[in-house]
């Protein structure tokens, strides 16, 4: 039984690919578009570029993007009796929950790779920055991918519960906004409570933004990955329990 394999088939001809490609490229480019128009150089090279693309993107567009992906993935299940059919099969609730979250997490990871690639292309070809994107930002990019997973689990859960496309996206927008505010106040423990805070914090890694020290150290990376793993486990367990107990609504 291969629940993830079944989910991958559903991605064929899916609108989610358009989101995966267009969202990160558009957002990263729009982050530096004013600098481009003015024709001024980037004050601090790669560092400034990363701030304008990835840190901005991590404040709320990333969470909203994952929310849109989750709503798109779940929309197919809420149509007709697909959800009945899935729940009338031998696939366990845990496997269903994990398969959905994994596919959304995977799309979020591809989105992240494209965002970083776009940043590098911008830096090298458009701004003609010397050297290459600093190594600590590549580490940060991997941490961001891990931190996307609890957001994927939460958004998958919300989209499972709500047939509405927009409602879970609105939750992500508000949740990411509140979480960003908490990080501005340097309330770092928020990363253990809100997955939106975890992923935002990850995008700030190594940039001295808000609570960040500007250095990518082992303990900081471990803290963010730890928070991501704990939140993922807790949210997956809760989602599975709700799915296992509740009645299937169609």
């Amino acid at each position: 039984m291969n629940a993830i394999g079944a989910e991958l088939v559903k991605l064929k001809r899916s609108l989610s690919w358009a989101v995966v490609v267009l969202l990160p490229i558009t957002l990263v480019v729009s982050g530096s578009v004013m600098t481009l128009i003015d024709g001024r150089p980037l004050e601090d090279g790669w560092h400034t570029l990363w701030m304008r693309s990835i840190v901005f993107y991590g404040l709320f567009p990333l969470a909203v993007g994952i929310a849109i992906l989750a709503s798109l993935i779940w929309r197919a299940e809420h149509r007709g009796s697909n959800w009945n059919a899935l729940m009338s099969g031998p696939t366990s609730s845990l496997r269903i929950v994990l398969a959905k979250a994994t596919v959304i997490g995977m799309l979020a990871a591809i989105m992240q790779v494209l965002a970083v690639a776009t940043t590098i292309v911008l830096g090298k070809l458009v701004f003609q920055l010397p050297g290459f994107l600093p190594g600590e930002y590549l580490i940060a990019a991997v941490v961001i991918i891990v931190a996307c997973f609890p957001v994927a689990v939460l958004q998958s859960w919300l989209s499972m519960l709500m047939r509405s496309f927009a409602a879970p996206v609105a939750v992500a927008f508000v949740g990411a906004g509140i979480s960003a505010f908490l990080l501005v106040l340097k309330l770092t423990p928020a990363i253990f409570i809100s997955p939106y805070a975890t992923v935002s914090r990850a995008t700030q890694l190594g940039t001295s933004t808000f609570a960040d020290t500007g250095e990518v150290t082992g303990p900081v990376v471990a803290l963010i990955i730890g928070a991501a793993l704990i939140l993922s486990a807790v949210l997956t367990t809760a989602n599975t329990a709700i799915l296992e107990r509740g009645d299937t609504r169609t």
């Binding site: 039984m1 291969n2 629940a3 394999g5 079944a6 088939v9 559903k10 064929k12 001809r13 899916s14 197919a76 149509r79 007709g80 009796s81 697909n82 009945n84 059919a85 899935l86 729940m87 009338s88 099969g89 031998p90 696939t91 366990s92 296992e244 107990r245 009645d247 299937t248 169609t250």
Partner: protein, 301 residues
């Protein structure tokens, strides 16, 4: 005869509204069980409880001799094929891709998928997107998805809904073939004629309660059909019984409702003693519709 499905006092209520009440279903192995009732009588709710899609408020479900509940459902569901409410299928995918999802979820081999697709005669339509399928094709694909796991029990909720007469006949024929192959089939409908010729066992649901369960013959004997009498002087005969029986005259045939064999004999004797020649006494043939109406006491279909 072993039972594939049995329920004890199965009940589902939402707040103070009871949708299904004290249902004791008995579905013997290898039969086609026709589950009849008007729209909103609780058929889908009952089927969803059998699949543990929704939890009963009260009572129990036994499938293949084992209790069906949240801890056993995933194991039992591997042997139950089902189609609940509308047919499933991802519109943006082709028939083949939809079957591949079923194959991966259930861990089936290519032969099992091929067999299911051929059984519903869809092998030439599989490269079309499901969005472009007709309703009949969607129903057949849905049945193929349910069949691919080679189930012992097939639960189909209104599989003929919205189909044209040819499509209905095809589904009927399919159900008969499946039952001959040893699969127990439970099929619901609000149209009695659709099930009449296929089902070997019948359960009739009205407002969440079972008002009849048994074979087709038992159903017909449960309601006494009218006695029709042809005689030489029908109008005089009607006047004769007007005080005791609710007789009516139809094309010079006397219709006598609710008469058992003794009453019928008495009526014939009385007619003869009055000098009226009796040359025809028979029971009216009843359709399932008429029986259903009499069982539900005129409740609309």
């Amino acid at each position: 005869m072993s039972l594939v499905v049995s329920t004890e006092k199965l009940t589902k209520s939402y707040g103070s509204r009871t949708v299904v009440q004290d249902l004791d279903l008995r579905i013997p192995e290898g039969c086609v069980y026709g589950f009849l009732g008007p729209n909103g009588s609780g058929k889908s709710t009952t089927m969803k409880m059998l699949l543990s899609l929704i939890r009963p408020s009260n009572g129990q479900v036994q499938i293949m001799g084992r209790p069906m509940n949240r801890s056993t459902r995933r194991e039992l569901l591997g042997k139950i094929g089902s189609l609940i409410e509308s047919p499933p299928g991802y519109g943006h995918l082709t028939g083949r891709e939809n079957m591949r999802i079923t194959q991966r979820l259930l861990g089936l081999n290519d032969q099992q998928i091929d067999f299911a697709v051929r059984t519903v005669r869809m092998q030439n339509q599989m490269d079309k997107k499901v969005r472009e399928f007709s309703l009949g094709m969607k129903q057949r694909l849905g049945i193929a998805m349910a069949l691919a796991r080679q189930p012992r029990l097939l639960i189909l909720d209104e599989p003929t809904n919205g189909l044209d007469p040819a499509g209905i006949e095809e589904i009927r024929d399919l159900l008969r073939r499946l039952a001959e192959g040893g699969i127990t089939v439970m099929v619901s409908s609000h149209l009695l004629g659709e099930i009449d010729k296929t089902a070997t066992m019948l359960g009739i649901l009205s407002q969440g309660q079972m008002i009849f369960q048994g074979t087709r013959d038992q159903l017909f004997s449960a309601a006494t059909p009218d006695v029709l009498i042809d005689c030489t002087h029908p109008s005089r005969a009607q006047q004769l019984f007007a005080r005791h029986h609710q007789t009516t005259l139809e094309n010079s045939t006397l219709r006598l409702p609710g008469a058992d064999d003794r009453t019928t004999a008495g009526v014939v004797a009385a007619l003869v003693s009055e000098g009226i020649g009796v040359y025809g006494v028979r029971r009216d043939e009843q359709t399932l519709e008429q029986i259903f109406m009499s069982l539900t006491a005129g409740g609309g279909l």
